[in-house]
Symmetry: C2
Subunit: 120 residues, 2 copies
């Protein structure tokens, strides 16, 4: 049982769109990721996803609106809802989601798909 | 689908040891709480609990050691492990745990027990 310092973990990687696992509980995983640029449009059939901004800001695009997210804010995207994160500048995000969650959801063969995530 | 600003939610209450629900996903709840003083020793039979320090610091006591937690750090307490949060000064904490979780765990009749939590 070790505590996790979020800033220390964020210093261990610099690539974008490649979440790292930093905690597990109740079948869920806590992940840290850095975003920059545009992700792919996708949805998750069976998983709700939480995005908590640790540093910076980004936009979560939906088909009919966009939510601006800043440091200290979070958004829960329900299963089935198409979304696309867009980060004009680098942003660090904490994710909470089921261990089964694939980063690109239904877009299983995207160049952004990460089948296996590192644990930090 | 509304984003949540953590600081804004924290300004809506001031009492200690009374978590508020600020999000739900995948059968889990996201809660915000303020701690000050000593909580009761307890464990949860079926739930792992995550404590993320939003502002301030506190100590998580276990029977054989103590973990100091500061802003930007989190700790996952596995089910079955006795623990007691102690906060010499006020601290604001985000909790992530199953919706079934009772704040005082096996100590169901503590004066600190909150059977029903408000949603903010």
């Amino acid at each position: 049982m070790q505590k996790v310092n979020i800033d220390e973990k964020l210093q261990l990687f610099s690539d974008y769109w490649n979440p790292r696992i930093v905690g597990e509980l109740n079948g869920q995983q806590v992940k840290l990721a850095k975003f920059k640029g545009e992700f792919v449009w996708h949805h998750h059939d069976h998983e709700d996803e939480m995005f908590l901004v640790v540093k910076g800001s980004f936009k979560m695009e939906f088909r009919d609106h966009t939510v601006d997210l800043h440091e200290g804010e979070f958004l829960i995207v329900p299963r089935g809802v198409e979304h696309r994160p867009v980060a004009p500048e680098e942003v660090s995000v904490m994710l909470f989601e089921p261990a089964s969650t694939l980063n690109t959801g239904n877009q299983r063969d995207s160049e952004r798909t990460r089948e296996v995530l590192d644990r930090l």
